[in-house]
Amino acid sequence: MSSAPEKKPNAPAPQAPTPAPKPAAQPAAQSAAKQSAVPAAPPKPTIPPEYQELQKKVAEVLKGLNPTFEPSRGYLDVVVAKEHLVEAARRLKEMGFDHVISVGAIDYIAKKQFKVMYHLTSYLNEDLSKYVVALSTYIERDSPHVPSLTGIWLSAEFHEREEYEMFGIIFDGHPDLRPLLLTPAVAALRPLRKDFVVKEESDDIETDYEAYLATKWW
C-alpha cells in the first residue's frame, strides 16, 4: 500500500507496488491508524473512537432519560423514548448543540416502526462543531405522532415539513405543518415509506433483441 508518500518526495519509483514502509518516518499516530490494513471481514459496528468522550458527556447530560447509543459511524446516535424527546432536546441545546443539520426518518417496515433522527451540531460552541449528534426516537408506524422540535430549533421547521409529507409523520406542535416539496395529492401517497414502490423500468440486464429495439423507455 502506498503510504505517506509526502515523506519521500524524491522517490522516483514509477512502479514500486509495495514501497518498504519507513517506520521512523511515519508522520503521526493518527495517520498510522488510518493506514491499518484493510480488514477482509466486514467491520464491527461500534461507536467511533473519536466520539467515545462525547458519548460520556451526552450520557451525563441526558441522565434520567435513559439514552441508548446505537452503533454508527461519523456521528453519535442517541436514542431516547418519545416522551423524553423534548426534554432531551432542551438539554442538548443547553449543552451547545444549537442547530439541526437534518431531520430524517427511516421506515422500519418489518418492525412497524419509524425512526426519527435529528442530526445536530453546533455553530457557536467551537468544541462541539466537530461532532454530529443524532437525537433519535422510535415511534409507532400506525400512529406516527412525534412532538415537534421546531420550538427548540427553528432550523428544523422545513425539515419537519419535508418528513411530514414524505412519511406522514405528524409533528405535534409544529407551527405550519404543510407539504413543502410535493403537491398535496402526491404527499398523500407518503412516497418515502417502504410500501410505496416506484415504478421503474426493469433492472434486467438481459433482453430480447426485438423487444429492445422496440423499447419506448425514453
Binding site: 433492472d203 440486464i205 438481459e206 433482453t207 423507455w217
Partner: protein, 210 residues
C-alpha cells in the same frame, strides 16, 4: 505535515462618500471601457467552429466486438439502464461452431455518459470517441443496433466546421486556437505542451475572429 485550516477575519472594504461616488464609478467605468476596446471573447461560433476535444473525453461509446467476452459487467453497472445484453448467434472460432452469445447494446435516449461501462469493462472492449454533438432523426434511431454500436458515429459538425481548441492563458483565461496549428506544434515539440508559438497564434486567431 499537518497544517490545519485557519479562520481569518476579513472586512468588507469601506469607502468614504467621495471615494465611493468618484473612485467607485470611475473604476467601474474604466474596466468597462478597457474591455470595450480590448475584448476578450471566448464564444465558440458553434456550427462554424467546433471544439476538437482531447482524447479521454467521455463522448459516445463504441463496442469492439472481438474483444467482448459477454461478461455483462457494463450492463450491470449502467446507472441509467441504457445498456442491455442481447443474445445473437455468432461463429465461435475456437469451438468452430455457431453459438448464442450475449453482447451489449446501448440506448442513447437513456445514456448519461458517466463512462462506468467503459471503466468497468475487463477487456477494454468499449471506448469513448471524443465527440458528443450528434444528430438523430428520431428517438427510435437512438436505440442503437448491435451493428451501429460497433461503428464510430458520424461526426457531422466536422464536415463543415473548423476544429478549434482552447488553451490556457494567464492573461485571457481560455484562448481559442485553430486545432491544426496547435496539433502541428505539438507534434513538433513532442512535449504535449502548448508552446509560446501556439499562444501567439492563438492571439492571432482571436484577433481575426472579431
Amino acid at each position: 505535515m499537518h497544517v490545519p485550516a485557519k479562520p481569518s477575519p476579513k472586512e468588507v472594504p469601506r469607502a468614504t462618500f467621495l471615494g465611493r461616488a468618484v473612485a467607485g464609478n470611475l473604476g467601474a467605468l474604466a474596466v468597462g471601457v478597457k474591455y470595450f476596446f480590448d475584448p476578450n471573447r471566448i464564444t465558440l461560433l458553434y456550427p462554424h467552429e467546433y471544439i476538437k476535444l482531447r482524447q479521454g473525453y467521455r463522448g459516445y461509446i463504441v463496442l469492439i466486438f472481438d474483444k467482448c467476452i459477454s461478461c455483462a459487467s457494463c450492463a450491470r453497472i449502467c446507472p441509467a439502464r441504457a445498456m442491455k445484453m442481447v443474445s445473437i448467434n455468432v461463429f465461435d472460432k475456437k469451438l468452430k461452431k455457431y453459438m448464442k452469445k450475449k453482447y451489449p447494446v446501448i440506448n442513447y435516449n437513456r445514456c448519461i455518459f458517466c463512462g462506468f461501462c467503459v471503466d468497468v469493462c475487463p477487456t477494454e472492449a468499449l471506448y469513448h470517441v471524443p465527440y458528443h454533438d450528434l444528430v438523430y432523426n428520431s428517438m427510435a434511431d437512438m436505440v442503437l443496433t448491435l451493428e451501429d454500436f460497433q461503428k464510430e458515429p458520424e461526426f457531422v459538425t466536422a464536415k463543415e466546421g473548423v476544429p478549434v481548441t482552447y488553451i490556457y492563458d494567464e492573461k485571457k483565461g481560455l484562448v481559442k486556437v485553430h486545432y491544426e496549428e496547435e496539433g502541428g506544434e505539438v507534434q513538433k515539440a513532442e512535449g504535449g505542451q502548448a508552446s509560446a508559438a501556439t499562444e501567439a497564434q492563438g492571439e492571432q486567431a482571436q484577433g481575426g475572429g472579431g
